[in-house]
Structure formats: structure tokens, C-alpha cells
Amino acid sequence: MEIVAFLHALLVEPFVAMWQNPEFLLEVAIGGLLTGVMYSLVALGFVLIYKASGVFNFAQGTMVLFAALTFVGLLERGFPVWASFLLTALAMIAMAFVIERLVLRPLVNQDPIILFMATIGLTYFLEGFGQIVWGGDVHPLDIGIPKSPLIIGGVLINEFDLVAAAVCGVLVTVLAVFFQRTAIGRALRAVADDHQAALSVGIPLKNIWVIVWAVAGIVGLVAGILWGSNLGVQFSISLVALKALPVLILGGFTSVPGAIVGGLIIGVGEKVAEVFWTPATGGAIEDWFAYALALVFLLIRPQGLFGERIIERV
């Protein structure tokens, strides 16, 4: 009998609850959508680097943390917002140079797993470095993003989430224009397509890598500012990377739209599951639900929703 009650709680009651209160469902879904935007931003950094260099950059989450720490550190030392943003962006560009020179270049042509491990090493390094330079405390961050709740059509929405969504939209548009319309963007797409072919038509691979790591760093900065304004800048931001991974496999490692759509799906799925399935499972399923969801998608499409079709040859 116990098992029947459990199955009832697992398979029936959540849907009844959703059906009875559709406005609440919508509210939860929108809340999830906006968390999803944040996941997308972190996943975007992963995708950029993976596309251009085939490196699975585990350090993206720590780059977000590092950027946010630098930004908040500069703010606390009296710099205005725009100056801090510019200086942090410069720091991220400088970091891209250093990483390319000291980590990527010596490891050219190694197995992907070796490069992956190197980025985990980078994660440790940046975590230590960031906290030595800026301290390990929680820094509150307020750059004047409004946070009051709004009621639109009977649904409660936080203003902050709208701003975050708008920023994300602008960022993606800028990146799309950058990729499609500029010479550098074309070069980046060429490298992503085929390293050797790109080299043979004279595209300097090293510079491309620096650029792409710098862009990923700046995307990380934006993500870090948004996360930081919401929750304060603290060490746990780097754990967001773990949330971005299921987003990545859901959307496909090589697809920018995939990162966005994947982030939204994961965000909504996670929130809805957390709210409606807590009575059945006892809560705290946020930790693994995203992975389970991504796994189900993967079993149907092994390359992710928008990933390039895997063609295997002997």
C-alpha cells in the first residue's frame, strides 16, 4: 500500500496540483524561465570555447566567479560601475592571453580529456587566486537593478528577472551580429568548422583562441554580475558551472541557440519539479533533476537538441 501511495504522490498528485492552479504553474514556470536565462549565460561561455577550440572548459564557472569578484572588488574600491566593468573586461582579456600562452599552446594536439583536466587545474588555480586577491567573503553587489515584484496579467514577476532576461537577449543579439557580420566572427566560425582548413587559408589560430576565451570571459562577467546582484558575489557562484553542464548536453556542445533553449528548458523543468514533486520525493531534487532530464533527452538525441549530427567513420 505504501508503494501505491508513493506512486500516487509521484505520478498523479503533481499533475492534479498543476491542473487546479494553472496561474501558480505559470508563475513557477516563469520564475524557472528566468533562472534558466542565467544557466544559459554560463552555458554560452562553454559553447563559445568548445566550438572554437574543442576544449571542454570546466573553468567557465570559476571564470564567472573570478570576473564577478574582480568587478565587485573594484566597485568596493570606489570605481564607478562603467569603469569597473571596463577594467574587469580588460582583466578577462588579459587572462585569455595568459591562458592561451601558458596552458593551451603547450597542450596543442593533446587528447580532449587532457585539455579537460587542464581546465580543471585552471579551476583550482583561479579559485585560489581570486580569493587571495579579493578575499573569500560574501560581497553584496548592487548596481541599481530594480528588484520590486510586478504583477502582469495576474502573474507575479520580479523586475530583476525581466532585466536579466533583457540583458541576456541583448548579449545574444550582439554575439550573433559579431559572429555573422564581422571578419573576426567569420574567422571564428571557420575555425569552429575545421581547424586545419582555417589555418590553411591563413586564419591565425592562436589569436582566435585568445579572442574566443576573452569573449567567454566577458560573457562570464555579465553572468557573474547578474548572479551576483541576485545572490551576492560568493564562492558558490562557481558551482553554477555544474548546473550549466546539463544545459550543455541538452542543447548540444556546439550550438549557441542550444545553450539558450537548453537553459530555459532546464530552468523551467527544475523549478516545476522542485515545486510540484517535493511532496513525493522530499525535496532537494534540484541537484540531480537537471541531469536526469538531460539524460532522457540524450537517450533520444545523443548529440543534444541542436548539436551537429554525429557522423562516425572507421
Partner: protein
């Protein structure tokens, strides 16, 4: 001069297929075993046995497990911590439900349970490959840890959630778990288990099964075409790898820490073991030991050095500094020798064979 195989003739296929075909290697191995079994228990202090050697051996076992899966069969897994937790909790449940069962049997049964869980979570590997699979194994990691934290059945409804290992003997009054267990007994027990399992692994990867794994690793489609069944081969790799990880987890909880706690097997543990096999050498049993030694000793070294040099640094500064140096050293090692310490060992041996001639 000392290390040369000239004059060592083999007169049977068996001799040619030995693990150590060169006599000096056999001597070295025998000497290492004597040191480990006789000299170390005589001279090592309690601290060395309990805080360095036992974790080193347990980590080596887990690293061998992961190396079978990742280094030999080519399936990258980030779920090692989760599988170790399965082993630990299975041991706890078995040991408390059947108090009369010998601890060795309990460990083996726990390993088998872990193997089954491993097969379950290895199932997606038939469709998902590469980094997609790596991230998918994180699902196992997070789900298993959540499950052990969530359902009090696993810790026998202990209110605090932390449970201590009950005392159990291997035979007679030789206790290896629990409070009054002797550290030398514990060490010898772990050492024997690791020796046996490492030898088994070494022979496994040298034989038909190991070759099938390596064929799948190098190119799975080609392997399939020449008649290797991917279903059987991949799931076998997951099962055996999880068996090793499960036993390692059980020993970690029961013999090293003396308590079972899901937090001890979080994602960081998985990365730590992945580091060991990368630093030590993918696809090498010796590498698993070298990597485990490196990862166990390095943090200790980083902790002790500033004190030894007479610097007085604040604790939080020190821990950040450690993580920086750790990260930098990992990158450095990957750049210097991406194929790991085992490869360095091999190069050293090659050089020694030729010495003093250049070639």
C-alpha cells in the same frame, strides 16, 4: 649495467607472457612487496599508517577501478564518488543486517551490488559517447548522493545522518573495522585486498577482455565490425570498474574514516580520482598507484612546506594558496608529460637499459 635483460632466455610461452618478463623487474616487485608487507608495519608510525598509507591504498584501488573504465575502455566517468558511496552504504547495510557475515564476504557482496548499480548507470554509454557521457555520469553522482542523504533507510534511521562502522573481524580477534581495530591489522588487510585486486586487474587488462576494452576505446565502430560486442564489453567495463570503486568506497568508510557519510563521496572525490589516473597515466595499473601517491602526498606537502620554512601564514590564505599551487602543478604535469607518471617510469626504464650508451 644493473638493468639489462641480456642472457635471460625464455623457454616457454608462459615465461614470455609473464607480467614481469625481465628478472630485475621481478626482484624489484618482490622487494616492494616485502617492504610493504614486512618493513612498513615494523617501522611506520600510527599516523603514517592511518592517515597516509591506508588512504593511499584505498585511493589506488578506486583509481584502478576508474582506470579500467576510462583508461582501458575509454568511457569517461565523473561518477566515481557516487559508486564509492554505493559500496560504502551497501557494506553498512549488509554488515548491520547480517552481523554474523564475515567482513570479507560483506566487502565482496558490496562490490557486487556496486557493480550492478554501475551497469545500470552505464547503460546510456551504449548511445552516448565522449563528453556527453561524462556529463551524463554526473547524473549518477548527484542522484546517488541525494538518495543516500534523503532516505533514512540507508543509515538505519540514525537521527544525525552520520553513522559509525560497527567492529568486525576478519578471523578470530583480528579486528579491521570499528574503534579498537589495530592500525597494523587494518593496513595489512587493505594492503592484501589491494594487492589481490591489482593483480587481478593487471591480468584482466592483459587478456582477452582487456584487449576488447582497448579496441572499443580506440575506435568503437571498428571494434564492433571485427566482432566485439559493444553491449557486453562496455557494460562489463562498467561492472568491473564499479566493483573496484565499490570496494574502495567500502574500505574508505569502514577502515579509513570509520564512519559512513554521503558527503565524503561528493563530486570533488570523483575529480580527485580522475586526477589520479590522468597524472598517473591513463591505461596503466602502475599509473593508478603513482597517481594516487601524488594526489595524496601533494596536499600534505603543500601544507607542511610553509611551516617547515618558518613562514607563518593565515589559514584561509594558506588554503587558497594550496589550491592555486595544486592547479598550477596539475597543468604543469599535463604539459610536461600528458601520458602520466607511468610513462615517465617507462622512459626511465628504457634509458636505464641502454645506459651508459646513448642508444
Amino acid at each position: 649495467m644493473l638493468y639489462r635483460e641480456a642472457g635471460q632466455f625464455k623457454s616457454s610461452y608462459g615465461a614470455d607472457e609473464a607480467i614481469f618478463p625481465i628478472r630485475q623487474d621481478r626482484w624489484l616487485f618482490a622487494a616492494a612487496l616485502i617492504v610493504a608487507y614486512v618493513v612498513v608495519p615494523l617501522i611506520a608510525s600510527e599516523y603514517w599508517l592511518l592517515s597516509i598509507l591506508i588512504p593511499f591504498l584505498v585511493f589506488s584501488l578506486a583509481a584502478i577501478g576508474l582506470n579500467i573504465l576510462t583508461g582501458y575502455a575509454g568511457q569517461v566517468s565523473l561518477g566515481t564518488g557516487g559508486f564509492m558511496a554505493v559500496g560504502a552504504f551497501a557494506t553498512y547495510k549488509l554488515a548491520t543486517s547480517f552481523p554474523d557475515l564475515n567482513i570479507v564476504v560483506v566487502f565482496i557482496l558490496a562490490g557486487l551490488i556496486t557493480a550492478m548499480v554501475g551497469v545500470l548507470f552505464g547503460w546510456p554509454s551504449l548511445r552516448i559517447k565522449g563528453f556527453y557521457l561524462a556529463v551524463a555520469t554526473l547524473a549518477a553522482q548527484f542522484f546517488l548522493i541525494w538518495m543516500f542523504n534523503k532516505f533514512p533507510w540507508f543509515n538505519n534511521y540514525t537521527p544525525s545522518g552520520v553513522i559509525s562502522a560497527p567492529p568486525r573481524a576478519v578471523f578470530g580477534h583480528v579486528f579491521v573495522t570499528g574503534a579498537e581495530a589495530n592500525s597494523v591489522d587494518k593496513y595489512l588487510f587493505v594492503l592484501s585486498a589491494v594487492t589481490l585486486l591489482a593483480l587481478a586487474a593487471k591480468n584482466l587488462v592483459r587478456g582477452r577482455v582487456g584487449r576488447e576494452w582497448m579496441a572499443i576505446r580506440d575506435m568503437d565502430i571498428a571494434a564492433e565490425i571485427i566482432g566485439i560486442r559493444p553491449l557486453k564489453t562496455k557494460l562489463l567495463a562498467f561492472a568491473i570498474s564499479s566493483f573496484y570503486c565499490g570496494i574502495a568506497g567500502a574500505m574508505w568508510a569502514f577502515i579509513y574514516t570509520g564512519g559512513v557519510e554521503a558527503l565524503a563521496f561528493d563530486i570533488d572525490r570523483s575529480f580527485q580520482i580522475l586526477f589520479m589516473i590522468i597524472i598517473g597515466g591513463l591505461g596503466s595499473i602502475l599509473g593508478s598507484f603513482l597517481g594516487a601517491a601524488f594526489i595524496v602526498l601533494l596536499p600534505l606537502l603543500l601544507e607542511r612546506t610553509p611551516m617547515a620554512l618558518g613562514f607563518d601564514v593565515p589559514v584561509n590564505y594558506l588554503s587558497n594558496m594550496q589550491s592555486m599551487i595544486f592547479g598550477a602543478l596539475i597543468i604543469f604535469f599535463l604539459i610536461v608529460e600528458p601520458r602520466g607518471l607511468a610513462r615517465l617510469w617507462q622512459i626511465g626504464k628504457e634509458k636505464l637499459r641502454m645506459w651508459p650508451f646513448p642508444y
